[in-house]
Structure formats: C-alpha cells, structure tokens
C-alpha cells in the first residue's frame, strides 16, 4: 500500500507567496528543520569553544575563515553538481590539487594567467565528465572516481621528483589580509553571490533545477539536458581550481595527500547546508553556512586535540542528522 505524496486538492491549497528573491536561510529561518542544525552547531560551538583555550582568538577566527574559504569555494562547485542531478563529484580534491599544481607552475607568467590556466584546465576536465553524465546518463560516482584516479596519476607525475614549487612569488597576493581578513574569505563571499545569481537569476540556473528535479520530464519537455549538466560541471570545475589555487598559495606547495579530505569536506558542507543529494533543491547561501559549520567543527576538534578519526566521525554524524532533517522537511512540504 505504498502511495506517493497525498494529492492535496486545489481548493485546499494554502497560498504561499514566498519571495524567492531572498534566498536561503534568512527567508525560511527557523521554519525549516534543516536549519535547526545550524543553530544547534552555533550554540554547541559557543559552549564548547568557551571551554577550549585559544578558540575565541583573532588568530583562530582567521584560521577558521581561511579553511571555510577553501572548503567553501570547492563546495559551491559541488552544489551546482548536486542541484543539476549529478549527485557529487568524488574527484573534488584531486581536481583542486592538480589545478593547484598547474597554478604554481604557471606563476612565472603572472598571477592572472596562472589562475586562468588552472581554472580552464579544471573546467574542461570536469565539463567533459558533466557532458558524459548529462548526455549518456553515466553514473557520476563511478565516472568521477575513475577521473579522480587518473588525476592522481597525473599529479603524482607532476610532483614525482620534488614537490611542485611556485614559479614566482606572485601567489603571495592570494595570502594578503586586507582589513585583517584573508583574501580567500572575500573570494568565497563574492563567489557565493555569483553562484547564487547564476542559480536563481539565469536561464541556466532554472534549467539546472529542472533537470535535477525530474530528468525524464526535462527530456520530454525538450530542454537541453546534456548542455545544462555539462555547464554545471564546467563552473564546478572552475570553482575547484580556485579552491586549489588558494590552498597552494597558503602552503606554497600542494600535494595529493589532502585530496580525499577536501572531497569529503566539500560534499559534507553542501549536505550540511541542506542541499538535496537527489537534485533540484539547494542554494549557494546554504553551502556557505554549511562550509562554515564544517570548518568550525574541524577547528574546534583540532584545538581540543581530537584524532582525525574523531573529526571524521563528528562530521559524518552532522551530515547524517542534516540529511534526516531534510527528509522530514521534504515530507512536510508535500502534505
């Protein structure tokens, strides 16, 4: 006796003139169970933080911001992938690392050309994956794992003799702290706004939501499905490269060791923000808050000397809770 959502008759519809120009958390606020987690995490962070030495310091705030930045920028890319129905890329870390290497080796030509080269390389590689997924319904998990290992091989070759070193000091621009705030934070905020505008204010964005929610309906309506998914992946790849460039700049080199960690954190940030893994629902602002949560939790656990295993456990539990609450939300909105 399984039934789909009960069909509510027209005469009983409660009008909701929700304004979609104010996206994300502010509008829905406490009504959305997905946001309860954010408030809970904030409260817990303040309580636990108060008893943790060095948590409430300017230095630590900067550290949290910097790691929110690299996680968040990559997570914005994953948001686009998830919304257009491509599940997630499991090659986020590898793509970021290899494009970080491209960035460092190209620095001899100047900062902007190096950034462009890295972004372009990642956009092409990720965009091809998107096209294959959009046009032929390839399984995103298998495809991105495969590409991830290929990129690992490429990266290993690039850094085989010695760690990739910056070709010039131009990268230091990315480590500046105007007004006392790291550049990466400005980059994250700016990119969040851009991605949000892309998602809610452009034709491509609307198509991404449509394809992600119901691919069969998009095909039947004659919408450009493969093009939409490919474009989503192209932008996602570019964002992964920017994330890679920032982490390469901050540590003066980049290796493949942190790749899995970045992939996990980026996906966790998107899910913690409440974007749906099933596609068709989510936003950039959600991901911004998700990234902040993940970065704060990582930092707090690090300061308290927790092992890597414990950190992963806590983040895993957080994602689990948010996904469950998201399920509650989607059920509620249907009845």
């Amino acid at each position: 006796m399984t039934r789909a959502a009960p069909e509510q008759s027209a005469s009983v519809t409660v009008e909701r003139n929700a304004d979609d120009r104010l996206p994300g958390l502010l509008r829905t606020g406490l009504r959305d169970p997905g946001n309860w987690v954010l408030f809970a995490v904030l409260v817990v962070a303040i309580i636990v933080g108060a008893s943790t030495p060095r948590f409430f310091t300017i230095e630590n705030a900067k550290a949290i911001c910097a790691s929110t930045g690299t996680i968040g920028i990559a997570a914005l890319g994953v948001t686009l992938i998830m919304v257009c129905g491509g599940l997630a890329s499991l090659a986020v870390g590898e793509t970021a690392a290899v494009s970080g290497m491209v960035f460092l080796t190209m620095l001899g030509h100047g900062l902007v050309p190096a950034l462009l080269a890295a972004t372009l390389a990642a956009a092409v590689v990720t965009g091809i994956q998107g096209w294959v997924i959009g046009a032929w319904r390839a399984n995103p998990i298998i495809l991105t794992i495969a590409v991830g290992s290929i990129l690992t091989a490429v990266g290993a070759r690039m850094s085989s003799t010695k760690a990739v070193a910056p070709a010039s000091e131009a990268f230091e621009h990315l480590n500046k702290t105007p007004l006392g705030v790291p550049v990466v934070v400005f980059a994250l905020l700016g990119l969040t706004v851009l991605v949000q505008l892309l998602m809610s204010g452009t034709r491509l964005g609307r198509l991404m939501y449509a394809v992600g929610e119901n691919r069969a309906a998009a095909v039947a309506a004659g919408l450009p499905v493969a093009w939409t998914v490919a474009c989503g992946f192209v932008v996602a790849g570019a964002l992964m490269a920017i994330s890679g460039a920032f982490s390469a700049a901050s540590s003066h080199t980049i290796t493949l060791e942190g790749a899995n960690q970045l992939t996990f954190n980026a996906i966790a940030a998107v899910l913690a923000g409440g974007t749906s893994i099933a596609g068709g629902f989510g936003s950039a602002t959600r991901t911004l808050f998700g990234a902040l949560m993940i970065a704060t939790i990582s930092d707090l656990l690090l300061l308290r000397g927790a092992e890597v295993g414990t950190q992963t456990l806590v983040k895993g539990l957080l994602v689990l809770v948010v996904v469950l609450l998201g399920h509650v939300r989607s059920r509620r909105s249907r009845t």
């Binding site: 509510q8 005469s11 939501y209 449509a210």
Partner: protein
C-alpha cells in the same frame, strides 16, 4: 454468487460481515481551508461502491483518510461496526484495508507467487516453495487470473499486475478493498479482467470502494455510487437504471457544453509524416497534418497510438522514415532539437515525465520558454511575471496559484499546468499530447478540451492519443484508429464510437 444458492446459512454469514466500512461525517482541514467538511458513506461487505467527485471535491482526501495517510479532524471511521483510528498506512493495512491504484506496488523481478507472499502476515522465515506455489495458485484461481505462479511478474501486462495486487489484498484477508482509478492505464480487455476480479473479491465478502472518473465503468461495475462535491456528500444513488448524466449533474451541478469543431475546409499540410517506423512499436505510418486542426490517435495500450506521438517528439532514437515540418525535415531521437523546431510534447505520465512537482506553477509553465524570457542568459523578472500571468490566464489557472508548488494542486489543475506549458507560446507549431485528460474529472476535461480547441484555432496543429472513446469523438476533427502498430482507418469528422471501437479491438491494419 448465484442468488438461488444463498440459503439461510450463507445469508447469515454475509449479514455478519455486511457492516464493512462506514464513514460518519468525516472532516479534514488543511490550514484554514476545509477539504472535507462532511462526508458519510457506508459500504457493506460484499458490495461494490463507487466514489465520484470533481477534482478538488475532496475525493482524494477521503481516499487518503481511508488508507491511513491522513487523519480526519472530526467524524468517525468504522470497520465492521467498530470505530477505528487509522493513524498510519500500516495500521490501516493491519485492520484489513487494501489499496490498489495506478502506482503498482508489485516487484517486476520476482515471480507472481513471491509477489503474492510479499508483506503477508504469515510469511515464513524460509520460504517453502511448494506451499507458496499452492497458496498463490489458490489466490489466482479465486480472482480468475490464468497465469503460472512461477512467471516473472515483469512478463505480465499492467492489467495482469493489477490483478496480482488485488489477489495479494485477498491473500492478506482484506476486508476493504480501495481501488483508486485502477483502470486509467488499462486497455478494454484488461479492464474486463480487473472487473471480474473485483466482482469475485466482493463475492467473498469484501467491501469494495471504486474511485473513478469513468462514469460508464462506475455504472457497469458498482452497486451504489456516492458523489462528493465541495467536501460534502451530495448524493448516494443506486446504479440500477442510473444514467451517467445524472452523476455528472450531481458532480457539477450542471452539464458541460460540448466544444465546437474546426470547419472542414483545410489549409496546406504543415506536418508530413512518411513511412515512419519504430521497430516493435509501430510500422510504416504515413499521414499529413494541417494547422488549426485536432487529430486523435485512437488505440488500446500497445497499439502504437501513444508511441507515434513519442516518436514525433523525438523520444525514440531508433525511429526511421521522415517527418517534415513546413518544409524542414525534423531530427530523429533528439527531443531538444525537435522542440526547437516547434514540436512540443506533453506526456501521459504527469508526475514521472511531466511536471517539476516541488517547483511552483509559474516555473512549470515557463520552463520551456526561458530563452524568450532572458537576455544573454539572465532572466528578466518583470517579463517572467507578465508572461507567467498571461500563460496562466490562457491555461485557465487562477493567478493566485502561480507561486504554489505544483504538488499541492489537484490532479486536474496539475494537468492544466502540463498542458498550459505549451499554450500561448508562439514557438509551438505542433502540439503532441498523450492522454491529455488522464485522471481528470468531467469539468476539468471540458476545460482542457476548450483550451486545446482555442490553441488549434490560433494555427497550431494539435495531435493527441487517447484510450477514451467519448473524448476522441468529442474533441478530434480527424480520428486515426490504430491496432498492433498499424493504422486501421482515418475518419475525417465522421467517426462514431462504434466504428472506432471495432477498429481498435479487431480492425485489420492497412499497410
């Protein structure tokens, strides 16, 4: 089953069971609005009782309350004379309520016998194959389905799968069988099969509730019919000598006016289809379509009627032959390119392949014309608002609904959104609709027919497939009958129900 054989003992046995299901003044509100304000009906064990109503009359809410998906705010539900609280679907099942609807809950990769055992109360830990088989055979005999219990369910037709669901309900000892639009996706012989199974089920003492928009079926199958309108029970009638118009009058309060037809003088052909073939679905189809006219493809499930539309929409890659629209050949197997040429399609599977259910009405209406509403890819909000309101007006959707998620609308209004997506769109030259009024009540159906006629008048060629005879005759200017993948006949304004029915059930295809 046979009235003469009902000696006192069996009659007593039946009167014990005859309490069946009863609703006493049930009510249910959603927020400030009352979906159901006072519905009462009593279905005795052994009888078949229809529930009819306009879309939005509260019918779905009543069904959902009976199967435990929604809880009433007031009133009582009684099973066998006892007040029950159906706080979940599980509880409803445990108390003997079984639901069969279009969304089948049988598993294609298991055998018939295994499916019959699914979810059964006395399912043993280790399945005893021989006992399972005997049990299954018994159930199949009881509802009159002739197939081996060892067959894979996936090899059965949709109608036969529905019979398996009914058999499973019987096997679980259901006291109340709730059939929600069970025949919407079935062909005529399949419907007959389902009907005899339903009769057999009722004869074993089950109280059957049959929810349908097909009034002919209601009168043929049911003993009594309860009609709801605006959340109230308006009438409960015996179907003896009842005419469908009487039910319609109660559902609407008035009879809908028939839609006018196109004049018979015709323009130059706009769409020319030549030797179109999709292997295994239909063969060697040639016809011409002019603007401003409505064409119907009549045929049972599997006849190729709806497949022709899907092929024209570009949804089958293996199609051969040529399709020329206003002198330009159309691409094959590429729905996006086909749409850009001005051929739009609306699927019969509203939820699976039609609408974006969590998105609002406006997004659903505008999704295929975003290019015209954006400059350099950036959407123009004001233009979206104006065009959205305009399209809603052409589709007969209240402007207040534009920002409502589609999933909150009734079936009829959802269908209007799906059809409306391609209305008032200057890029659409050919409109293809597969079952344009599936699951829509009489009033909503009239409204959609009116919309399609208005669209045709603006110079669009409208092609639709339907399994409902009266719809074909009522709406189409030209009817093409199909059977087993071939055209049987083409009627230009002279189609009759009898002619079409004989064509689609036993007509010979013309090569």
């Amino acid at each position: 089953m046979n009235p003469e054989t009902s000696h006192p003992a069996t009659r007593a046995g039946r009167s014990e069971r005859s309490a069946g299901l009863e609703l006493r003044s049930v009510q249910r509100s959603f927020g400030p609005i009352r979906a159901v304000s006072d519905v009462s009906m009593a279905v005795a064990g052994g009888s078949i009782h229809a529930l009819c109503g306009h879309n939005g009359a509260g019918k779905s809410t009543v069904v959902n309350m009976i199967c435990g998906l929604l809880q009433p705010d007031g009133g009582e539900i009684l099973i066998d004379g006892e007040v029950v609280s159906l706080h979940s679907t599980y509880e409803a099942q445990r108390l003997g309520i079984a639901l069969v609807d279009q969304e089948l809950s049988v598993i294609p990769t298991l055998t018939v016998a295994e499916n019959l055992m699914l979810g059964s109360v006395d399912e043993p830990l280790l399945l005893h194959r021989r006992r399972l088989r005997a049990h299954a055979q018994d159930l199949l005999d009881r509802i009159g389905l002739r197939c081996s219990p060892d067959m894979l369910l996936g090899d059965l037709s949709i109608g036969e799968r529905q019979l398996v669901e009914i058999a499973r309900a019987l096997g679980r000892g259901a006291k109340v069988l709730l059939l929600d639009e069970p025949t919407a996706t079935l062909s005529a012989p399949e419907i007959e099969l389902v009907f005899s199974a339903v009769r057999a089920t009722a004869a074993q003492g089950c109280a059957v509730i049959f929810v349908s928009h097909r009034l002919g079926e209601v009168i043929e199958l049911c003993d009594r019919v309860t009609i709801v309108r605006d959340g109230l029970t308006v009438a409960t009638l015996s179907t003896d000598g009842l005419h469908a118009d009487e039910i319609v009058r109660h559902m609407l309060g008035e009879l809908p006016a028939p839609v006018a037809k196109a004049p018979s003088d015709r323009a130059e052909p706009s769409l020319v289809v030549d030797h179109l073939t999709t292997p295994g679905l239909f063969e060697d189809l040639s016809f011409e379509v002019s603007r401003g006219r409505i064409y119907a493809f009549a045929g049972q499930v599997g006849s190729g009627a709806s497949e022709v539309l899907r092929a024209l929409a570009g949804l089958y890659p293996a199609t051969s032959g040529s399709v020329v629209l206003d002198g330009t050949p159309l691409p094959v197997g590429r729905p996006g390119a086909t749409r850009r040429h001005g051929v739009a399609f609306a699927s019969s599977d509203r939820k699976g392949e039609g609408l974006f259910l969590t998105k609002d009405v406006r997004s659903n209406l505008l999704v295929s014309r975003l290019r015209a509403l954006s400059s350099l890819g950036v959407l123009r909000r004001r233009r979206m608002a104006t065009v959205g309101a305009e399209v809603a007006r052409s589709a007969g959707i209240a402007p207040g609904r534009l920002r409502t998620p589609v999933q909150q609308l009734s079936g009829g209004n959802q269908q209007k959104v799906l059809v409306g997506r391609n209305l008032a769109d200057p890029t659409v030259r050919v409109l293809l609709l597969d079952e344009p009024t599936r699951g829509v009540d009489v009033g909503g159906r009239g409204a959609i027919h009116q919309l399609l006629r208005e669209t045709a008048v603006t110079g669009v060629a409208v092609l639709f497939a339907s399994t409902e005879l009266d719809e074909l005759i009522e709406l189409a200017d030209t009817v093409v009958t199909m059977r087993e993948g071939r055209v049987v006949a083409v009627y230009d304004g002279d189609a009759t129900e009898a002619g079409v029915l004989s064509d689609i059930t036993h007509g010979e295809g013309v090569a």
